[in-house]
């Protein structure tokens, strides 16, 4: 216990007396964490933006006016059996008519022409949402059978097909680039941190040698460095989160304009705070402790 307390004392003493080096290490860690958080934030925003575009894409099937309700139900049952279909809504012909009337309220010419017809000229409409934009192709193929030809007047998806494909390509590319960037960044970050800590320990190489000469055990020498690694990690993660939250509270009003209703990055961070803090803390701690142990290994050999 007394040795542990002394290790703690040495760690705080070393940090204080090597203040420049300590600040530099914390600064580099903060830069790395800020970059990781920025990349993370961009990934979330891209995901949200892509999702909101995806949500707006659907297939609308316009049935002929005399299509039987049972036939429409049959198609509905057929389509809901597809795992790709996440949502399916039917707007019956009365609702379609009402919607048309509402849209043209006050336009006597259009409403008069409708009255002259004497009957509802609209058929039911079916709106289908799938999990991924590329799933729409399967649904379109599935509907491309002769028995449905006489029931479905038009399918509204054809015009969107190109846009969906482009969107899908962009999404895939963003994901690949994001993954590549994250990997590249992790490697660079590891090298920077490893070297920063190695420089810190090399600076204290003579001291490590002296401590060994006066009979300090390996753990008595390693201990303060490991405690320092822990403290550097804790301080840098706390400061990074402070900066991230300050930045988000400033950015959120601007992001609210382009993001789906109710989504705010601050809220995302708040609701995932334990996961985000824990993951980043553990990753940086592993990185700093490993760097310390690797850098010290050479100096502690006899």
């Amino acid at each position: 216990m007394i040795s542990f307390l002394r290790v703690l004392k040495y760690a705080f003493q070393d940090m204080g007396r090597n203040l420049g080096l300590s600040l530099m290490t914390v600064f580099i860690l903060i830069l790395m964490l800020l970059s990781v958080n920025t990349l993370w934030g961009i990934d979330i925003l891209t995901g949200q933006a892509v999702q909101s575009v995806k949500d707006q894409i659907n297939i609308s099937l316009y049935f002929v006016p005399d299509a039987e309700v049972s036939s429409v139900e049959e198609i509905k049952n057929y389509l809901t059996s597809f795992p790709e279909v996440v949502d399916l809504q039917i707007i019956n012909k009365e609702e379609v008519l009402q919607s048309f009337k509402d849209r043209h309220f006050g336009n006597d010419e259009v409403l008069g022409a409708l009255d002259e017809l004497g009957e509802n000229p609209f058929g039911s409409t079916m709106v289908i949402h799938t999990r991924e934009p590329e799933d729409y192709k399967n649904i379109m193929t599935a509907l491309d059978v002769p028995e449905y030809e006489n029931l479905i007047e038009t399918k509204s998806f054809e015009g969107n097909e190109g846009a969906v494909e482009t969107l899908q390509n962009i999404t895939n590319r963003i994901e690949r680039i994001g993954f590549g960037l994250a990997f590249l960044f992790a490697v660079i970050a590891f090298m920077i941190i490893f070297n920063t800590i190695r420089v810190a320990i090399n600076t204290q190489k003579t001291e490590i040698g002296i401590k060994r000469l006066v009979g300090a055990s390996g753990w008595f020498i390693r201990g303060p460095f490991l405690v320092e690694s822990f403290l550097f990690t804790l301080i840098s993660v706390l400061i990074t989160f402070g900066i991230v939250f300050l930045s988000l509270s400033y950015l959120d009003p601007y992001l609210a304009v382009v993001l789906p209703d109710g989504f705010a990055l601050t809220n995302y961070y708040k609701s995932n705070i334990l996961l985000l803090f824990g993951m980043q803390f553990i990753s940086v701690l592993v990185l700093t402790v490993l760097s310390s142990l690797m850098a010290m290994r050479k100096q502690l050999q006899v």
Binding site: R17, K211, R212, V214, G215, A216, S217, G218, F220, V302
Partner: protein, 226 residues
């Protein structure tokens, strides 16, 4: 107390630093090990504190064969041997008190006892009033006295002094030698590795002469003859 049986140290270069040394140093002796640069003095000193392992032969301290000592036991050995060096080897970011106390702190001594012992040894080397100073605030002679104080805290049975006066002027050299003699008088075996002719001749104690890694002379009351 200290025995070397057929000890050789060969570096991979290949360089033979020590060749088949056989030596017996009795408890309480004051032995000067002399030789020119490259004669193997520092290698021999490093073998005694397990900074190096012999390529061949056995190094015994007391009844302890330290030639194959494992890493875990090395700190325990070093707490029993006082060491001082030409470059003092003080921790620059620690005060004089902290430097001296460090040797006891690593051994897990209680704070109250550390204070008592450190105050006493700093008093012995005459630096009690400068215990809050940092090494860079002291002269070379004073720094070496701190190193001696640190070496003394464990009441070592052996003191290894590797060129302790190499960086000092003549006045400080005399002071350090006086302290080493006093340490020897209280029963500590002192091994002085040096190439300072004057101090060896003034001591009139046992002198072992090394040349090209071999013992070429071992005189009971010797002089510097190289």
């Amino acid at each position: 107390m200290i025995k070397l049986h057929g000890v050789s140290k060969i570096y991979p270069t290949p360089l033979v630093a020590l060749r088949d040394l056989n030596l017996h140093i009795k408890s309480g002796e004051f032995v000067s090990i002399i030789g020119q640069s490259g004669s193997g003095k520092t290698t021999m000193a490093r073998l005694l504190i397990a900074e190096e392992r012999p390529t061949k032969g056995i190094v015994e301290i007391g009844e302890w064969d330290i030639s194959k000592i494992n890493s875990y036991d090395i700190p325990f050995l070093r707490r029993q041997i006082g060491t001082i060096f030409q470059d003092f080897k003080l921790l620059p970011k620690k005060t004089i008190y902290e430097n001296t106390a460090f040797a006891l702190e690593v051994a897990g001594e209680k704070s109250a006892r550390i204070k008592q012992v450190v105050d006493k040894v700093l008093d012995i080397v005459g630096l009690h009033t400068k215990k809050a100073h940092y090494p860079w605030q002291l002269s070379g002679g004073e720094q070496q006295r701190v190193a001696i104080a640190r070496a003394l805290v464990h009441k070592p049975k052996i003191m290894v002094a590797d060129e302790p006066t190499g960086n000092l002027d003549s006045i400080n050299t005399v002071e350090i030698m006086e302290i080493l003699k006093r340490i020897n008088e209280i029963g500590t075996t002192v091994l002085l590795f040096t190439h300072n002719r004057e101090i060896v001749n003034q001591l009139k104690r046992r002198v072992i002469t090394l040349e090209n890694g071999e013992i070429i002379m071992d005189q009971e009351h010797g002089k510097y003859v190289l």
